[in-house]
């Protein structure tokens, strides 16, 4: 990977910069000493020239360092972000659904952006600063052991102070991640839901509560930082004391004849350099600690186990018959929640259209999610063409299924790209055709740039009904042997529902179709109707048979007919 190379490169450049800086100071000190000792310009000039040369070396290295750090940080960021996106895909829609937008943002964007690369480069910074400090102290020690020991001792204390500080403040620092960050997320939540707050006339009411908490946290943060400032003052004191001690001891030893003037001048120009690296480390650490929580979150996502178990080498799935079988499937989203599916067994023949009906929360959508392997059932098996879906890769399973979900997500890109997602190779002719079939052509004609109109985040400028038509068009483009319609026409108005039914009719032909419906009108044309109630399959049969039975289905029908 690029990481070790980027790290080593950064460290090397940092050492060149620091070395050139210290070197030019040494040369200048020697030049001054020679002048004072009565040397001629000729004996001084080579040292001055050397100092100028080192200045130029340093400038060059600094410039390269700027570009190298920028490049390394983007590369490291890209690497982590792609790993995160893969992790999110692995965790699936179930996991995404449980995240707050702000959190997802914090993990996927901020956690990576600002901090990860920074942290890894932080390591380089610490190493560079550490080596520089040791080297400068060693030089000072070589110049004069007494000054060197005093300055070196204080520099060591200074280097250790930040870690003492963060050990002392650690628990209180966590306050930041447990209280302050969530409050910021809550602000974002309220800003996003502002229309709702306004409609209910509670925007001000909300503000009062939110502002009060914000004020409390602000004051608490100030108290915390006051403690941290004491450490900061302590560091300034130690560094100042170190420099004062070095100069004082040097001056006194020179006047007593224990040091030469050249040695004293070297101490004058180098003593500050002994303490600079420690301060750099401290400042870097200060910023790092505040941001730690976001990075933690990003790393925890990478290590979260996914909801499905992947088999190492799945067999080819081509040519499997599109029949579906559920064998005593049990599933709960959460160990403490009621089961969403509680022992469901059923089988759907290839080419059959089966409708699943039942009240809200009966387990209809769960069944679709399990079929698509967004989750694996805790017990029982799901088979496609007789093969356990667990023995295939999720991608293989999904390739066989086209889904029209209840609430479609539209990406912030053109309608064309949103459709092509399902089939990147589709032609304009294909697009026109599926748009017509799904009735999305009306929408496309109405939009200023037609297919090239960019739709807003979560399809903001597209109504619920229009969103569903795009989802249907997507499914039409995908052309998979199994079709899952999850309440596919719930947001579509009466007049277009009929046309969409015609489109779905076309879509259904020759495919195994699972229609999840709460509108009983959408079950028309189903070969069989399965009735779910609280995670169990309670009835199945044709419309006529079920009506005759006067059970749960008949109840639902009666309600829909308006009693």
């Amino acid at each position: 990977m690029t990481e070790p190379r980027a790290l080593l490169g950064t460290i090397a450049l940092g050492l060149v910069v620091a070395g050139a800086r210290v070197g030019s100071r040494i040369l200048l000190a020697v030049a001054i000493a020679r002048t004072i000792d009565g040397g001629s310009w000729g004996t001084v000039a080579p040292f001055v020239a050397g100092a100028v040369a080192l200045v130029l070396v340093r400038a060059g290295a600094t410039t390269v360092q700027g570009a190298a750090m920028a490049g390394a940080s983007v590369r490291l960021t890209a690497d982590l972000r792609i790993r995160l996106v893969r992790a999110v895909f692995r965790l699936g829609p179930g996991w995404v659904g449980r995240q707050r937008t702000g959190e997802l943002e914090a993990v996927m964007v901020d956690g990576v952006e600002k901090l990860d690369a920074y942290f890894r480069l932080f390591l380089a910074k610490v190493v560079t600063a550490g080596i520089t400090a040791v080297a400068v102290v060693a030089v000072v020690f070589a110049i004069d052991p007494v000054v060197g020991s005093v300055v070196g001792g204080l520099a060591l204390v200074l280097m250790l102070l930040p870690s003492i500080e963060y050990r002392a403040l650690g628990p209180r620092m966590r306050f930041w991640s447990t209280s302050y960050r969530p409050l910021a997320a809550e602000f974002v939540d309220n800003l996003q839901g502002m229309s709702t707050l306004k409609m209910f006339g509670v925007a001000r009411h909300r503000a009062a509560e939110l502002f009060r908490r914000s004020d409390d946290l602000c004051e608490a943060a100030i108290k915390l930082v006051n403690v941290s400032a004491i450490f900061w003052g302590g560091m300034a004191f130690i560094a100042g004391a170190g420099i004062a001690a070095g100069l004082t001891i040097g001056a006194l030893r020179t006047s007593s004849g224990a040091m030469t003037s050249a040695q004293l001048l070297l101490v004058l120009l180098l003593v500050g350099e002994c303490f600079t690296p420690a301060r750099e480390i401290h400042d870097a650490m200060h910023l790092a600690v505040w941001g730690m929580s976001k990075v933690d979150r990003a790393y925890s996502v990478l290590s979260t186990a996914g909801p499905v178990t992947e088999v190492p080498s799945p067999a080819a799935a081509e040519g499997l018959e599109p029949s579906i079988e559920l064998d005593d499937v049990r599933f709960r989203y959460d160990p403490s929640a009621e089961p969403a599916l509680d022992g469901v067994s059923l089988s759907i023949r290839a080419g059959e259209t089966v409708a699943i009906v039942g009240g809200s929360g009966a387990g209809k959508t769960t069944m679709a999610s399990l079929l698509l392997r967004f989750f694996d059932p805790q017990e029982g098996a799901i088979r496609i063409g007789g093969r356990d879906v667990g023995s295939m890769s999720p991608d293989q399973v999904r390739a066989m299924i086209a889904l029209v979900p209840q609430d479609t997500f539209l990406f912030h890109e053109s309608i064309r790209d949103n459709l092509l997602l399902a089939n990147p190779g589709a032609s304009q002719g294909d697009l026109d055709r599926v748009a017509r079939w799904s009735n999305a052509d009306e929408l496309v004609d109405r939009l200023p740039l037609g297919f090239d109109t960019v739709v807003g985040e979560r399809g903001l400028r597209v109504s619920g009904g229009e969103r569903q038509r795009i989802a249907i068009a997507r499914a039409l483009l995908k052309d998979a042997p199994i079709l899952v319609l999850d309440e596919a026409t719930s947001s579509v108005e009466v007049s277009s529902e009929a046309r969409i039914h015609a489109a779905l009719e076309r879509l259904r032909r020759g495919r195994t179709t699972l229609v999840i419906a709460h509108r009983l009108s959408t079950v028309r044309g189903a070969d069989r109707i399965l009735v779910l109630d609280r995670g169990r399959l309670v009835e199945q049969g044709t419309h006529g048979e079920l009506l005759e039975r006067r059970g749960r289905y008949a109840q639902l029908v009666a309600a829909q007919a308006g009693g």
Partner: protein, 606 residues
């Protein structure tokens, strides 16, 4: 707009440019004037004391070099040691003041932004990515906070300290001052050399990063769609490509900022060399005593300490300016709706809703949606508004709620124009079940209580019962106290709608607006809920936006919206049998969902 501002008018010198770009947020700083000035003065104090201490140290060294005895050196030793504590103390104070300022300022910025959103929502946010704007506003606030409290004080220091150091050099010997001056002057202009490029790059980088962030979140939220489409690798490829673009911009920015840093550092180092050479030549020719050499050298070093710090501030100026621009744009935006009257204590008007010749377009550049809508809903009456997608049904609801102001005509309640009421007064009369239900990241209980903040837990449960939410809520892991996702994404569409309905029921307002409120409910629940809502004892005046006959038929009257006008009004049965728009809407090719004809046409079509 950030890019425009960066490439456009802004062309003044570095520091002035920075100040100009921050002028918009100066208003926010006003209450903290004392703190800002205090932080800057303390920062200056630290730097001047530090300069004094290193100069004292160099004088000490100079004396020692020229053979002073220990007792002659002692007074200077005490000065050097004596300065250590004050530097630490002033430094400590500065950290405290800067952070207090930081936290208070950020707290204030958040509140200000909340207030702005309150005034501007939803009109201003119509055509922007919603997630983006709230997040960006908050992120920008943090950038500004860091800038004002951590990076702005060095500006003052960068001006004062070099001047003091230069004066010191001139006092030692005018030639020393002359040797250092050009370098100090040149170093001060370094940030302006490439300022324009810095701003362009900063703005571009932030825009690209913002876009990338939006894309990544977009992709993550659309995980289900990506996975079902088998598009995971394509999406990852896309993120990779975007990063390569950013890599280019970022490396260019790195070269530029690296070069600036190198130039500033280089000039500082060369100034020291120049001063050392000048001092050496002066000393060789007897112009200055040897003991002045260390002092001259240290003054030259000291002159540049704050300038180097300034350069590192200026490296980020592009990003800060871009953030300031965006926050300013938000703060300067005009709310589409504002209160035109003061809060009155009048009696609530009769809940009779009236639209008279209402015309409306979402923005001047967008086509008009309503071309003169006339509509009246009598107190206690339920009116269903029907029409095709995009006919303007939800727009009518928003206008009644005064989320927008109309372009022409009049919307009135009990004869009082909605613009003659405060927004608070108007909305206190309304309960809304919106099409897009927003649930906050808090418990189910609190989400419902939003309808009436002073409602008791029992009131909330009762409303939940009426909205048929009890059963599913109690099956949640923590029942009523389960925290639901930000967009209620852990709940199904139907469950979210039930909570929204419970909210509206709890509110018990004289006017009820239901915008496709039951689209995601099964028929059984829909019917029970509808009855509960509309036939409630208080009999609210109801505007019902719907597209299903089963929903529409409970209305007393139906109004059909087409082409931005109400084209038909009347009882459902009447419109259904009349040969008009309504019957065309119903009688579509499949001939479906007309419950009363259900037995006679298609037995499956219930």
């Amino acid at each position: 707009m950030a890019t425009v501002a960066a490439t456009g008018e802004r062309r003044p010198g570095a520091v002035r440019g920075l100040v100009l770009s921050l002028r918009p947020i100066a208003g926010l700083l006003r209450p903290y004037r004392i703190w800002v000035v205090g932080a800057a003065l303390l920062n200056l104090g630290v730097h001047l004391l530090t300069l004094a201490s290193i100069v004292a140290g160099s004088v000490l060294v100079g004396r020692a070099l020229s053979g002073a005895t220990t007792s002659e050196l002692m007074p200077l030793v005490w000065v050097v040691i004596g300065l250590v504590m004050p530097i630490a103390l002033v430094g400590w104070l500065e950290v405290v003041v800067a952070h207090v300022l930081s936290f208070r300022l950020l707290n204030d910025l958040r509140k200000t932004l909340y207030e702005r959103f309150r005034q501007l929502a939803p009109a201003y946010f119509l055509r922007r990515r919603s997630g983006d704007i709230a997040r960006v506003a908050m992120a920008d606030a943090e950038i500004l906070e860091i800038f004002t409290s951590h990076l702005a004080p060095p500006l003052l220091v960068a001006f004062v300290v070099p001047v003091v150091a230069l004066v010191g050099l001139f006092v030692l010997d005018p030639w020393l001052g002359v040797a250092a001056l050009p370098f100090v002057a040149a170093a001060a202009t370094v940030p302006s050399w490439l300022l324009r490029r810095a701003q362009d790059q900063g703005a571009r980088l932030r825009d690209e990063l913002g876009e990338l962030g939006g894309d990544v979140v977009d992709i993550a939220q659309g995980t289900r769609e990506v996975l079902t489409a088998g598009a995971a690798d394509r999406m990852i490829g896309r993120i990779g490509a975007k990063h390569r673009t950013i890599l280019g911009v970022s490396v260019a920015n790195g070269w530029r900022s690296g070069f600036e840093q190198a130039a500033a550092d280089g000039l500082a180092a060369l100034a020291v060399v120049a001063v050392v050479v000048t001092a050496a030549l002066l000393e060789i020719h007897g112009g200055i005593p040897a003991s002045d050499l260390p002092v001259a050298t240290i003054l030259a070093v000291g002159a540049f300490l704050p300038l180097t710090a300034l350069t590192s501030v200026m490296r980020d100026v592009g990003q800060v300016a871009a953030a300031a621009d965006r926050v300013h744009e938000l703060l300067a935006a005009e709310p589409q709706v504002r209160d035109l009257v003061a809060d009155t204590t009048r009696h609530a008007p009769v809940p009779r809703v009236e639209f008279r010749s209402v015309r409306f377009g979402y923005a001047p550049e967008l086509p008009e949606v309503l071309h003169g809508v006339d509509l009246a809903i009598e107190p206690g009456e339920t009116l269903a508004l029907v029409g095709r997608s995009g006919a303007g049904k939800s727009t009518c609801a928003s206008l009644l709620l005064r989320l927008w102001d109309i372009t022409d005509g009049r919307v009135a309640i009990g004869g009082v124009d909605v613009r003659d009421m405060t927004q608070r007064e108007l909305r206190s009369m309304m309960a809304v079940v919106p099409q897009d239900v927003y649930l906050f990241h808090t418990s189910v209980m609190e989400n419902v209580r939003l309808g009436r903040p002073d409602a008791t837990d029992d009131d909330v449960r009762a409303a939940g019962e009426l909205a048929l939410a009890t059963e599913f809520v109690e099956a949640l892991p923590d029942g009523w106290h389960t925290v639901v996702g930000e967009r209620g994404s852990t709940l199904s569409g139907g469950q979210r709608q039930r909570l929204a309905i419970a909210r509206a029921l709890l509110r018990d307002a004289p006017i009820l607006v239901m915008d496709e409120a039951v689209g995601n409910l099964d028929a059984e629940s829909e019917q029970a809920i509808q009855e509960g809502l509309v036939r409630a004892a208080s009999r609210p005046t109801t505007l019902l936006i719907a597209h299903r006959p089963s929903t529409i038929r409970i209305a007393d009257r139906v109004a059909v919206l087409e082409g931005g006008r109400v084209v038909e009004v009347g009882p459902y049965e009447e419109l259904r049998s009349r040969d008009g728009v309504m019957s065309r809407l119903l009688a579509s090719p499949g001939g479906i969902i007309d419950p009363d004809d259900e037995e006679s046409t298609d037995p499956i079509d219930v």
